[in-house]
Symmetry: C2
Subunit: 246 residues, 2 copies
C-alpha cells in the first residue's frame, strides 16, 4: 500500500471573495483527487494580495504533499500569482525563455501584438517547469510541490489533466465527452441517476449558453476503461433518447 498522499488548494482572487465570480474549481479538484487516491485536506481562498498568497503557499506546501493553486496568472496588473509564488520560494520571477518564444510565435502567427500585458503570462519562478495549457497556450507552472494553474474552469481542468499523470499515486484517469444538445435542467435528474449507478466514475456536466440556446458537454471520467465505457454508453443513450428541442 502506498503512503498517504495529501493535497491542499489555494484559490487566488478577489472576484471569488466578492461573489462576482462563483468558484467551480473546488468541486472538480476534489472529485479528481478522490478518484486518484489523494486526500484533499484543506482549501483556502485568498485575495489578490502578495503577503496573503505568500503566507498561504508557504503554510500549505510545508504541510501537504501537493499544493494546487488557481487564479491570478492572466495578463492584468492584479495577476500576481507568479510573483507571489516566486517570493514564497525565494527565487526571482522572470520571463521563461521557452514560454516567451512559444507565445511570441503564436501571437505573430495570428497577427496579434505580443503586448507587455501578454508577456506577463510568460513569467514564472526561476527553475519552474511548465504545465501545458492546450486551451489558450500560456502555460501554468510547477515549482517544488506547488502547481500553479489558471482560474478559468475549462483551462484549469485541461491543465489538471496534464498534471494528474505526474503525481504520486496518480492513477491514470480516463475521460470521454458526450455532447448533449440541451441544458442541464432537462438532463439533471436522469444524469444524477446514471452517476448513482456508476459510483466508480465521475460524471461532469459543463453547460454552455450560446446564441440563446443551452447545450451541455457531459464528461465521464474513470480509472477503469470498462467502467468508463459502461457509464458513457448510458449517458449517450440518455442523450439519444431526448425529445427534440423546439
Amino acid at each position: 500500500m502506498a503512503d498517504i498522499v495529501t493535497a491542499a488548494m489555494i484559490i487566488i482572487g478577489d472576484e471569488i471573495l466578492s461573489g462576482r465570480t462563483k468558484d467551480r474549481n473546488i468541486g472538480h479538484l476534489a472529485d479528481i483527487m478522490t478518484a486518484i487516491g489523494i486526500d484533499l485536506k484543506e482549501v483556502r481562498i485568498v485575495p489578490d494580495e502578495e503577503d496573503e498568497i505568500v503566507a498561504a503557499v508557504n503554510a500549505l506546501r510545508a504541510r501537504y504533499t501537493y499544493v494546487f493553486t488557481t487564479g491570478g496568472i492572466g495578463p492584468t496588473h492584479d495577476d500576481i500569482t507568479a510573483d507571489s509564488v516566486s517570493k514564497a520560494f525565494g527565487v526571482p520571477c522572470e520571463y521563461d525563455a521557452q514560454a516567451y518564444a512559444m507565445m511570441e510565435a503564436s501571437y505573430a502567427a495570428r497577427g496579434m501584438e505580443f503586448t507587455e500585458a501578454r508577456k506577463r503570462m510568460a513569467r514564472m519562478p526561476r527553475g519552474a517547469s511548465h504545465i501545458v495549457n492546450p486551451v489558450s497556450l500560456a502555460p501554468g507552472f510547477r515549482i517544488g510541490n506547488v502547481h500553479v494553474m489558471a482560474g478559468v474552469p475549462s483551462i484549469f481542468q485541461a491543465m489538471l489533466d496534464n498534471v494528474v499523470p505526474t503525481l504520486k499515486t496518480g492513477a491514470k484517469l480516463l475521460s470521454v465527452t458526450v455532447h448533449c444538445p440541451v441544458g442541464e435542467g432537462t438532463i439533471g435528474g436522469p444524469l444524477a441517476e446514471i452517476q448513482k449507478r456508476h459510483p466508480d466514475t465521475i460524471i461532469g456536466s459543463y453547460p454552455q449558453y450560446l446564441d440563446g440556446k443551452f447545450s451541455t458537454e457531459l464528461v465521464v471520467r474513470a480509472r477503469s476503461p470498462q467502467a468508463l465505457e459502461a457509464a458513457r454508453a448510458e449517458v449517450a443513450a440518455m442523450v439519444e433518447g431526448l425529445a427534440p428541442t423546439p
Copy 2:
C-alpha cells in the same frame, strides 16, 4: 464613513473536500457580504477534525471582524463543530437549556423521539447566543465574533438572513421570492440578463427537483425597496411569460 469591516468563512466538512457535496455557500456569503459592505477576506475549507477546526477558528477570529462557519452542526458523530468552537474559546460545550426545551417540545408535538443524536444539536459553547433556524428548528449560535451555521444551503441562508441585521455596517437587506414552475436550464439566460440590468440587487436561483419535475425559487435581494421591486417585477414578468411546460 464607517470603519472597514472584514470577515472570514470556515467551511467544515469532509464531504466538501472529497467532492461528494459541492459547496454552494461561499458564493452566497460573498454576495451578501458585498451587498452590506463587509469585506470577505478569506475562506478556508477544513476537514471534520477538531484540531483543524480549532486552529482555523482561532487564526481567523483574531484577524477579522467576523467569522462565519458552515457545517458540522447536525446530529451525527462527525458533527463536531460545537465541541471544536467551544474548545477554541476555552469554554465547556453543553446542552443549551432553551434549545433543548424547544427541540424536545417540537419532537414531542410531532410524535417523534428526541434521540441522543437529536439532542446533540442542542449543544453549544457556554455563553453562546442562538441563531434562529426557521427551516428545521435546531439553532445555530454566536459566540464572540464567530457565527456558527448549518451547511445545508437553504438553512445556512435562512440563518444568515437572521444574522445580517446584527452586524456592524449591516445594512438591512430586503428580499422577496418568486416561484418559478420550471428548472434553471430554461430561465438561466433571461435571469442573467435581468441580473445584469439590476446590478444593485442579488438574484438567487434555488432549483428543486421533486417528483420528476424541476422548479426554481427565485429570490431577489436588495438594500433599496425600489431596486427590489424593479427587479422583482422583471423576474415575475419573465416567469409569467414562460410557455406552459408539458
